[in-house]
Symmetry: D2
Subunit: 337 residues, 4 copies
């Protein structure tokens, strides 16, 4: 931590900061500049970062030098984590295509989509039983009935599935059914939910909050890791910006940033970031080229009847064609799709 | 809903949209422009907005004309709502100063702050027992013990209190103790929590998500209202922007925008938006002048020892001085503080 | 400047940074932390900040401790600057209402608005002869003819005027006519234009770029100051965010932030930030309460015929009523309006 | 244009809008909804969009259905434009790598970089003689001397070059020397400069303003096109968001959005968007995969001595390696690099 003193800070105020650091067993390196004094705090990161330095008299600002997260960082683990979803490895060179309908609407709708994505080469089925909706008047999902259908699809097709959980009281239920639990973008900072998931023995896909920084996202992963669940896959899905032509702005750079800071796999959701069908294929290609460990794509047999997000769902034929294109790019960057 | 067809949309595609509208009992007004066809959909708002128009072939975009929320809108109720927190009215010309420490850290710390803010003129005490923290290594609150201290302060000082709830499983507990339940900025779109709170018989303060639009915020209020709890106070607390000199950017305009769209009271939190002590007083003054129905301000006896957000807490004397200044501005705009 | 070395930085890389600092005559304070080395650079700010520290091997990031701007800072000048526009003082406790039509459209239109705002209490007339428009098909202004009308209005009413300049080749022309030259939001980072204005002997109003940080805005003021023109008024006019209910988000905090960092006066433009007539009065009130040194308000006799921004123009009667309200708030905060 | 009337709009107010439309020769399609009246305006786009509909009594908002730009749109020209920079085609399947130092610092520095990028496969040389800098104390470029060196490099290596112009008074000078004139991100909305460039007979590269929407960017291109210069290349270079880990957030989706809306080529600048050397290669790969028509990359022999943006410059060897990787991805997506 670097503590920058105000221009008019007194010697007593500098001493107070130095003494406070010493009280917690840290060292203080004082640099007396031409105009300001700057104090470098060296010691236990956790203890130093918890104190309200900016509240002390004469302190202008405190700049952290180290990140707050530890276990999910590359510093803690050099090698890429490989997460097993059912029998499907993700990360460390293993690419996983996850596809299916945004929401489970009926048994037939799910099965039709599941067979189509399986045939085209997807290895994990997506489909939600619980949906968070901006308006209370929108379809909220089938609940446990939806999970039953997903389980049936898994048994029929030999394909693990991913499903979202919204409520800490549903975590055990979803963890019992699903192979990969999803934390949606609106719940990335729902620490109550994160802690509950951290106690499960099932891998989790952590979507980035659509207005979270990369650091906040990795801190959210740290919550889960710290509770004991180390099988975390990160999922970039677009951030909120001023640009209206896309639903969100896919922060493609975040794939490379997270890979530098963390050992966890990172996948991309091109459906929810773009929000338009015509953007799914271009964004998916970019994601493979930049080194994403997988993709999460909405596929629907009849998007014009979809109860959620039909405008961005691919038709099965388009998805199949996209898989062919992605295989070529995968080959170019050394990844088998 | 206005449905704009693509340039190359065929007559069949236009007919398909018109037929779909008729199927749900709505009227379709077709305007054939020089280059595009535009279809005005007239009928039941809820039904029309739920269908995936943009997923239909030939549709370029669908522009909603009406808002999704109903009960919290001015259309539904012309007059300002007045919410009673204990015996303190908020809204409809009644201004409420809510102040106290960000977190309850100990019985003594709470009592000292509570007495100070009461003396200066605050009418509702703030203090949290559960804290959502970006890092899992930060102080997370005293839990029920904190609520006990708040209850004691209420009895001693005759002052209702507000406290945050994070977990749907804690809603009943917090509702039992507190006079006003707070939904924090990170939980504005935690629909599970909102629904649980909607079933309580206690007023709720709904903070704006720091990246929520005003419409999303009012939709969140609608979730609570729809479950039966109509006693909702909105709280603007700054939004995330690119500007680094403040913790968040206080969207002061939102006070006027919400008052135009909704009958609910709106208050402002100048402490968490600015993030620096020196900004609290200026922002509080602006809030009173623009017509906010109250303020929520962090006050701490010794900010340099605060476990949460000390950098933005006012000292009791500064708070007292601010109250004097606010009374003058309140007088100028016709509000009694 | 604080230079944070990477985790795996070698002793040679640390030495290279230290040596580079010594070469330019600066001191290097090396703090060896548990995991990282941090180097505090102390010496001539300008020289240190110009070198590409982050490009050196082993450097993770360089954090500036001091701001880049000097002359416009409070460090350089403690007392508030008072700028004289014609015979009207702005800043240091002097409040100035600037009002009039967004664009000069005709002699009659200008005169009618000018008389109305003068009567209501405005002290500086606004009206543009050159307009920057997003679309090349929009009205671009009357040019020198518009300046002639403004000059006439000044003579008739004894009221100085402000007008925008867009092109460095027009700077002398506009400076000859106008009492206060305006740099619009789109040109805040047009350094060519800033330098030309810096050479004039007329005060300048520098609007904040709608996506500029406060630091970038003060750096732009520094460009003008450095060329010799010290008569600069800052104008906050809203920044670009994700929120769609307002044209821009008025960053009301910026008034307090700039006043802390700089000695220059700061005014607010509530018309262009909100973008809707109903927001002008509420935002103007907030601006006076927070301590703005003036306001810039669009007033038009017949907004529904306005060639530019009619939707946000006040009618003369509304403006007159607003002036009465502002006088009361001004009285409450100790400012004469 | 869709004109949405307010809830309480009177029949007279609706008639006034309809009459105004008829006065300008447009048709009005009136839809009477359950709560609101909506008027579809059909007629000459330019005329309708110029009027201040939202300023008329009883109008709540006006929603444009058509874009404001015409000539640069796909509606106007179906086929991709191919722009010739010297003898190098860009667009319509032709990929162009543009590389070199950010700024020309000396003859030797430029030549060394130019030879290196040429050898690695770049086809257009970049290097600026005029630099816009946030701080007035930063290096501002060599001016015409820099253009001389670029001309020499062109003659020596048979490679056209691109250079930025900042001042409308320098446009003819830069156009005389350079093969491709660059408009920088800070000048995208400098309409004075755009118009001057629109009168030149040299191709122009138009960088996206770092806070411009795609529509505003295409409107800026329209300014240039309308003056007679049709040889425009668009360049995405990152937009300003709240995320601090990158200098800007590369809006990779914009490549696909612009290609859908316009016939102009689109290239990507991965150096200025990421702001860190380690991000250049990943972002360049994503850009090729999504279908960009070229790249603009900073390459410097000794980034740690660079006068501008050294932290993001690639070393020649890294650039050469990147070219090999890009050729493979290009092959996978059917483009020859």
């Amino acid at each position: 931590m670097i503590i920058v003193m105000a221009l008019d800070a007194t010697a007593e105020q500098v001493d107070a900061v130095v003494n406070r650091l010493r009280e917690i067993g840290a060292d203080a390196h004082v640099s007396q500049g031409q105009r300001r004094t700057v104090i470098g705090a060296v010691g236990d990161r956790g203890q130093i970062q918890q104190l309200p330095w900016e509240a002390m008299a004469g302190v202008e600002r405190a700049v952290p030098v180290l990140k707050e997260f530890k276990f999910v960082s590359r510093e803690f683990q050099q090698d890429d984590s490989v997460i097993h979803v059912g029998n499907v490895p993700v990360g460390g060179g293993h690419f996983a295509m996850m596809a299916g309908p945004c929401a489970v609407e009926s048994r037939d709708q799910l099965m039709a989509s599941a067979e189509a994505v399986k045939k085209a080469g997807a290895v994990i089925l997506r489909g939600d039983a619980f949906k968070p909706r901006t308006s209370p008047y929108s379809f909220q999902g089938l609940g446990e009935e939806g999970l039953q259908y997903l389980k049936e699809a898994r048994e029929l097709l030999g394909m693990p599935f991913i499903a979202e959980v919204l409520d800490p009281r549903d975590v055990e239920l979803v963890a019992e059914y699903a192979d990969l639990i999803r934390v949606g973008t609106r719940n990335m900072a729902n620490f109550t939910l994160l802690r509950e998931i951290g106690r499960q023995n099932k891998p989790v896909l952590l979507k980035r909050g659509f207005t979270a920084t990369v650091d906040e996202w990795l801190n959210a992963a740290e919550y889960i890791y710290k509770e004991g669940n180390h099988d975390i896959i990160m999922c970039e899905r677009g951030i909120r910006t001023y640009e209206p032509s896309t639903r969100n702005t896919l922060d493609i750079s975040a794939v490379a940033v997270v890979k530098r800071l963390s050992h966890l796999p990172v996948i991309v959701d091109p459906s929810h970031s773009g929000g338009h069908r015509y953007l799914v294929a271009p964004l998916a290609k970019a994601a493979v080229a930049i080194g994403a460990d997988g993709l999460l794509i909405d596929v629907h047999q009849a998007p014009e009847t979809a109860k959620v997000d039909g405008a961005q769902a691919l038709l099965p034929d388009d998805f199949s064609e996209l898989m062919d294109d992605l295989r070529k790019i995968g080959h170019a960057v050394g990844v088998s799709i």
